[in-house]
């Protein structure tokens, strides 16, 4: 069944992009695998990341981190530390002004509680900031950190979310000046809470033939961007603060720094150089303030770079959650009601506490049609590391629960998991029933589906992996084989919130400078945005010189998050390029008129083709000729234009993932044999980059499914804080991987594009869990599914089966 055929009942006038598929044949630059604009320099080792410069007189900063999960700082004695040769300054809560803010790195006003300070007289997790030392070299700073004496009043700590929100729990944010939104109740350790719904869930559940309800659980996860958080600050010749920072959000960083350092935005310049991966971790304004503070106080350049261990213990993480999924379904497999309850752990601070958990419902629930939906969410503070933005942004947590649950429902009804999903999945023209209720800290704009290739994702994914083979696995030996699948959707930007801008100008050789605020953090957005400009201008990609991003030079962009860059920033670029095309035509017409040859020079008669403005009679002027004329000869002006874009629409990309696994019942080991990800991201601007996003996003989450977790001692100290002890997937672990790009055309996107970067992270958790469930006949409702858990469950099942032969099916 094709996407168009599914549109029964949809508004016939509603543009689903089906009529625009012919565009695929006309693209010259987009939808092509161009050489990425930055790849060669990076392969040569010439890419200059934040830490690849050294400034004369630069100070190095080291942080003293809290050894306690919860304590009040009564006094700090720095006298011995100050005597370490090379130490220049030491800052802490007794000499830095207390201003509450959120480190979340979101737009203004942030939908996260203001519960953090540069230095706080209270520490709330092992790894919280206590004091920083700036010294002539890193070694001196590290030695001095150890000599700082802190008098702590150690407080009782709480590590479990259920205990944290129970009466009598230690209050983590007892300070009177912290503020929040949407259910913020710090006296009960609640960072955010909400209850929203659509329709009458009680009535809908009453109609159901089967009601199923289970709890699921997902762990901490660390971004593991290979480049750690790092920032270098200095004062320029105008006494302005320059911050060169590994950030996804230079403009938000500038705004937030201005507030907490109490200097004007105008006096700050944030430069985003090459970034070595972000994945949401660098959306957080995590360390930007520290070198900035040191520089403002000492008037010297300052550098602060996290170690890998600090990344694990003191940077941000994926919020762990417990989730209760309840589904009402008719005997024929029609879903009628869905209810999701989330109890999330945001750790010591509430950055993204509301919005990540909002997306846990917002990305998942609307994927399947039902009469009624309910979402109940509580995000608790605990004395553990802090949750934050992490690629997928609540989606992976929710999809694990939902898509494991859907398999359980299908299993109980005796339906094929793929057919059960197809029966209930949303169609073009469907309204998102929760869009209004789940806006970012305010009411969201209504959402209605245009392009939707999810059924084709299911069909082509199933064919690629050989879905029917799952019925013939013998599984009579100790090694059991299984296959699982899931359906996914995500979003493209934050509707009604995210704005991006681009600036484009013509040079005298017919090349263009494209200045974007969008932050390429390794995603390939510099290439993609340059492709969009080139396509619109009708020039080869090589004619576009892109620069991103610098708050002094490039226009504003919300930053690299929320799967927004291609869709939002890309449209801004397209608008800028369309404006430049208009100016090129005007300038060419004027040149022809000036030369006494005005025939066919009306703007609607001219076209931009292959680096020329062309007249109906075939006469043409090259962009270079036009630029030289406008620079030096006639009608003198700079051809340049800008584009800004904000969208009230948030078209979801769709996907279906399939996994085939082997589980060794004797060791509990899982071997991933095959993985297929079929993706509808609209028009893939750079197909191989879309594959790369899919492969990388999925591989990260294979670790989430099987190996990655935070392990704490009884006092909240992280035990596995190295790459050696925190097991992520390597080249030896990744299975045979196939990405299928399903073609659709999104009418609201630039050249038909939607997002692609986050949706792959939603899939592997449930897909692999479903495959293991088929292999073993055991349902794991908690990630990661480790060999220990598998072996334990297998032995329990064996014991049960031997006691009660009648239950052998379980």
């Amino acid at each position: 069944m094709s996407a168009q055929q599914q549109g029964n009942g949809a508004d016939q006038a509603w543009d689903t992009g089906a009529g625009s598929m012919g565009h695929y044949d006309r693209f010259k630059v987009v939808n092509k695998n161009e050489r990425r604009v930055d790849a060669l320099k990076l392969a040569l080792g010439k890419g200059t990341y934040t830490d690849d410069i050294t400034l004369p007189g630069m100070l190095h900063v080291k942080m003293l981190w809290s050894p306690h999960a919860h304590a009040r700082i009564k006094a700090i004695d720095t006298s011995e530390a100050e005597r370490v040769p090379g130490v220049v300054a030491i800052y802490h809560c007794f000499n830095v002004k207390p201003i509450r803010y959120t480190t979340a790195g979101q737009g203004h006003p942030e939908p996260s509680p203001y519960d953090a300070m540069i230095f706080d007289p209270k520490v709330r997790f092992v790894g919280d900031r206590v004091a920083c030392v700036a010294a002539e070299d890193e070694r001196a700073a590290a030695i001095a950190v150890k000599k700082i004496k802190v008098d702590y009043e150690v407080l009782p700590a709480v590590f479990d979310t259920r205990e944290a929100i129970a009466p009598g729990a230690p209050v983590i944010h007892d300070e009177p000046d912290c503020t929040g939104i949407a259910g913020f109740d710090p006296k009960r350790n609640i960072a955010a809470a909400m209850e929203v719904g659509h329709g009458d869930t009680d009535a809908a559940f009453a109609k159901a033939d089967l009601v199923l309800e289970h709890w699921y659980s997902v762990p901490y996860q660390q971004h593991c961007a290979l480049e750690p958080h790092v920032a270098i600050a200095w004062l320029d010749e105008d006494d302005r603060l320059v911050l060169r920072c590994a950030t996804q959000v230079p403009f938000h960083s500038r705004r937030i720094l201005a507030r907490i350092l109490e200097i004007p935005v105008q006096r700050i310049r944030v430069i985003k150089p090459r970034i070595g991966g972000g994945f949401g971790g660098k959306q957080e304004v995590l360390l930007d303030d520290i070198p900035a503070l040191v520089t403002l106080r000492t008037r010297r350049p300052a550098r602060f770079c996290y170690t890998r261990q600090e990344e694990f213990s003191s940077a941000r993480t994926r919020h762990p959650q417990r989730l209760r999924w309840k589904t009402g379904v008719k005997k024929d497999g029609t879903l009628v009601a869905q209810e999701l309850e989330v109890l999330a752990n945001t750790g010591a601070y509430g950055a993204h506490a509301l919005t990540v958990q909002g997306c846990t419902a917002g990305k998942t629930l609307p994927l399947y049609r039902a009469d009624a939906y309910k979402f109940i969410m509580t995000t608790a503070y605990t004395n553990l590391p802090v949750g934050g933005a992490f690629r997928g942004y609540g989606g992976p947590q929710g999809f694990f629960a939902m898509e494991a649950h859907m398999d359980e429902v299908a299993d109980l009804l005796g339906l094929d998991p793929a057919e059960f999903r197809s029966k209930n999945i949303l169609r073009p023209g469907d309204e998102n029933p929760l869009a209004k209720a789940l806006g970012e800290g305010k009411e969201g704009p209504p959402q209605k589906i245009r392009s939707c290739g999810v059924q084709e994702c299911i069909d082509r994914g199933a064919k690629a992996i050989g879905w029917e083979r799952r019925l013939s696995f013998k599984n009579d030996g100790p090694i059991k084989r299984g296959m699982g699948m899931t359906c996914l959707m995500h979003g493209s930007g934050i509707p009604g919130v995210d704005m991006a801008a681009a600036f484009l100008k013509l040079n005298d050789d017919g090349s263009f400078n494209l200045l974007v605020g969008a932050t390429d953090i390794g995603t390939g957005s510099d290439t993609i945005l340059a492709q969009i400009a080139a396509e619109q201008l009708s020039v080869p990609l090589s004619k576009i010189q892109i620069y991103s991003s610098d708050t002094d030079i490039t226009p504003f962009d919300k930053g690299a998050y929320a799967s927004s860059t291609t869709y939002i920033s890309g449209t801004a670029v397209q608008k800028a390029a369309a404006g430049v095309c208009e100016q090129l035509k005007r300038a060419a017409a004027e040149m022809w008129r000036h030369a006494g040859d005005p025939t066919g020079c009306e703007l609607d008669q001219l076209s931009c083709e292959d680096q020329h403005v062309v007249r109906p009679d075939g006469k043409k002027l090259s962009y270079s000729e036009i630029c030289l004329s406008t620079f030096y000869e006639h009608d003198q002006h700079q051809i340049m234009h800008y584009g800004s874009h904000m969208s009230f629409e948030c078209p979801p990309p769709f996907s279906a993932h399939f996994a085939e696994v082997e589980v060794d019942t004797e060791t509990g080991g899982v071997k991933l044999l095959r993985y297929v990800a079929a993706v509808d991201c609209g028009v893939a601007i750079h197909p191989e980059s879309c594959e790369g996003q899919t492969e990388g996003g999925a591989t990260t989450m294979m670790g989430y499914a099987l190996t990655e977790d935070y392990i704490f001692d009884g006092n909240g100290r992280l035990l596995n804080d190295t790459f050696r002890d925190y097991k992520q997937f390597t080249s030896l672990d990744v299975p045979d991987f196939q990405t299928i790009l399903v073609r659709t055309y999104e009418p609201s996107g630039p050249f038909g594009a939607k997002s692609v970067s986050e949706i792959p992270t939603d899939g592997p958790g449930p897909t692999i869990a479903n495959a293991i469930a088929q292999a073993l006949g055991i349902r794991f409702r908690k990630l990661p599914i480790t060999p220990e858990e598998i072996r334990k469950a297998w032995l329990e099942k064996a014991a049960r089966t031997s006691r009660q032969p009648a239950e052998a099916r379980v």
């Binding site: 320099k41 090459r274 591989t699 997937f729």
Partner: protein, 163 residues
């Protein structure tokens, strides 16, 4: 102290403290292609060749390189003449954020010098010590195989660059 070595084919002297690791000494010498990812020898971003063998420069004391030949990613090729391995990583779209790429390029050079016709399994093992959170390794594995093909065609693996 002074460390005398052959660096990217040329005699060089690195000035460093006795406790300093090679990564720091190289980076201070301007060779920023050698990256810091973990400083515990786990991630592969700092890989260089020491007498043709791949080593983690973040856990090798700079002093230990005294009298040896060190090749960094800059030693394999430049803008004027990129090494076929570097070209292969670009053309296979194996470069995303690029932070792990120099280490992977070095690892590929070490592999191809020993084994000019690696299998897919060899390529996976070659990259096993190189963590990458962007690519999922699919395209880097393809890049290693593509690099082998190009190097065989041009027979430059053994003599590649100035190493």
């Amino acid at each position: 102290m002074k460390v005398r070595l052959t660096l990217n084919g040329e005699p060089a002297t690195l000035t460093c403290a006795p406790w300093e690791f090679l990564t720091e000494a190289l980076r201070r010498h301007g060779l920023i292609g050698t990256k810091r990812g973990c400083e515990t020898g786990d991630c592969g971003a700092c890989s260089v060749l020491l007498d043709g063998e791949e080593v983690a420069s973040c856990i090798l004391l700079a002093a230990q390189a005294d009298g040896h030949a060190v090749t960094t990613v800059e030693g394999l090729g430049g803008f004027e003449r990129p090494h076929p391995i570097q070209e292969a990583f670009v053309d296979a779209t194996a470069v995303q954020c690029g932070y792990c790429t120099p280490g992977m390029v070095i690892a590929t050079q070490a592999l191809l010098a020993q084994n000019p016709a690696p299998t897919e399994r060899d390529a996976r093992e070659c990259l096993a010590g190189h963590l990458c959170r962007c690519t999922g390794y699919v395209k880097p594995i393809a890049a290693v195989l593509q690099a082998a093909e190009r190097c065989r065609a041009g027979d430059v693996a053994k003599t590649g660059g100035r190493s």
